[in-house]
């Protein structure tokens, strides 16, 4: 019952970042799952970096979750690490994402801060092809 060949063949995807305005987020479908591309505001980045030292379930620095020099772009798999629901932005206690299913709170870096989820929102493999274009997968 493992994935069939056509499912495995799902190609990587390219995305034009100019579509995402400041402080906005675009949701793409990648490998059947939602993918968040967020253009973070300086305030969001500041908040994420300031919390680097806070106690966390899955400790990670904000800088390790973005590409060097591209701190405004946060690319995440939009699937809660608890049970796979799609978190919504702008809810929760940490100004980031909130999962409506079981109440997991993520911060502006997508790190798990409160609730049942065990891990931070996953950052997929991606690279910048140019300043305005990323290749995901």
């Amino acid at each position: 019952m493992n994935p069939s060949a056509d499912t495995l063949a799902l190609a990587s995807t390219e995305f034009d970042l100019t579509k995402v305005a400041d402080g906005q987020q675009v949701t793409l479908k990648w490998r059947g799952k939602p993918l968040f591309v967020r253009n973070r505001t300086p305030a969001e980045i500041q908040k994420a970096v300031a919390d680097d030292g806070a106690s966390m379930k899955d400790p990670q620095k904000d800088a390790d979750r973005v590409k060097p020099g591209k701190a405004q772009w946060l690319v995440l798999i939009g699937s809660c690490t608890h049970l796979g629901c799609v978190p919504t932005f702008g809810g929760g206690d940490y100004g980031g994402w909130f999962c409506p299913c079981h109440g997991s709170h993520y911060d502006t870096s997508g790190r798990i801060r409160k609730g049942p989820a065990p891990l931070n929102l996953a950052v997929p493999e991606y690279e910048f092809l140019s300043d305005t274009k990323v290749k995901i997968g």
Partner: protein, 284 residues
């Protein structure tokens, strides 16, 4: 006997506690006003004149953005539908249905040349969608996707009451609520306004944002039967029409239900009498 009744009461109680349980809590929008619909209750029926008015509101207002892709033109002439007529038991022959279908164009393939063409719809066709796909719909509506209306009255908690409340319930946003471009404040819309509220956090306004501007205007539609087209009237009529679109077999269901209930009650009475007779001389 008392013990037997308590068994039934306990089962009913268990049921009631579960039926009451799934109350929607997210965002805490206002509770829609309960409207006395003609189709409420065990003997409820659709009001055909209301469905016809509702269809007109859908056609002239809603259908420019909202699709209704599960409904066919022929359904309009089905029993219980807005244009049903006893003379035309087969709704495909119904002249009103044919006339309505002709107003729409649907995509097809020319069977001789194989070219993509547009042809007038027939009564067997489904309602064509205003946009070819979701992306096109979003692009034309500021990023928001107007939901398909075929099942809207069943797909929202509160059903037709909710639809009526949404289209009549637009309010000016309270001071301190930041409304984004292309957004409208509606206290009946589910949502989370905490991030947009600069006032007291214990008193976040009820409701949420909706991308649709208030769709109905006073006299925006002229009803053929002379009914005054107030916003409330239009909202009621279109909500009733959407309930019909979502559950076209409602009348048939309730009528069948009545016959089944009578049968089951008689059957249960008969079995109870047999039970008393069989057990008459046995202590238990």
């Amino acid at each position: 006997m008392l013990r037997k009744l308590s068994v039934i009461a306990a089962v009913a109680g268990l049921m009631a506690s579960f039926a009451a349980a799934p109350a929607l809590a997210a965002g805490h929008p206002l509770e829609p006003e309960k409207i006395h619909w003609s189709f409420n209750g065990p003997f409820g029926k659709f009001d055909q004149a209301q469905l016809q008015r509702g269809y007109k509101v859908y056609r002239e207002v809603c259908s420019s953005c909202h699709s209704m892709k599960l409904v066919s033109f022929r359904n309009l002439g089905d029993k219980g539908g807005p244009f049903y007529n006893e003379k035309y038991p087969n709704s495909n022959d119904n002249p009103w249905v044919k006339a309505i279908a002709k107003e729409f164009e649907v995509a097809d393939i020319d069977s001789e040349t194989g070219d993509a063409i547009k042809r007038p719809a027939t009564s067997a066709d489904r309602f064509p969608s205003p946009f070819p796909n979701e992306a096109a719909a979003r692009a034309s509506n500021g990023g928001a996707f107007p939901p398909d209306m075929s099942l809207l009255a069943k797909a929202r908690t509160g059903g037709p009451d909710y639809i009526h409340a949404i289209v009549t319930g637009y309010k000016n946003p309270p001071a301190g609520l930041k409304v984004g471009p292309g957004q409208h404040y509606n206290p009946y819309m589910p949502g989370d306004l905490a991030a947009y509220w600069s006032g007291d956090h214990a008193h976040i306004p009820p409701g949420g944002f909706i991308a649709m501007a208030p769709p109905l205007t006073e006299g925006g539609v002229t009803f053929d039967d002379g009914t005054k087209a107030t916003v409330d009237q239009q909202a009621r009529d279109v909500s009733a029409f959407l309930m019909w679109a979502a559950e076209p077999k409602l009348e048939e269901r309730k009528q069948t239900g009545f016959a089944v209930m009578i049968y089951l009650i008689l059957f249960a009475g008969l079995l109870y009498a047999s039970y008393r007779k069989v057990w008459k001389n046995e202590s238990h």
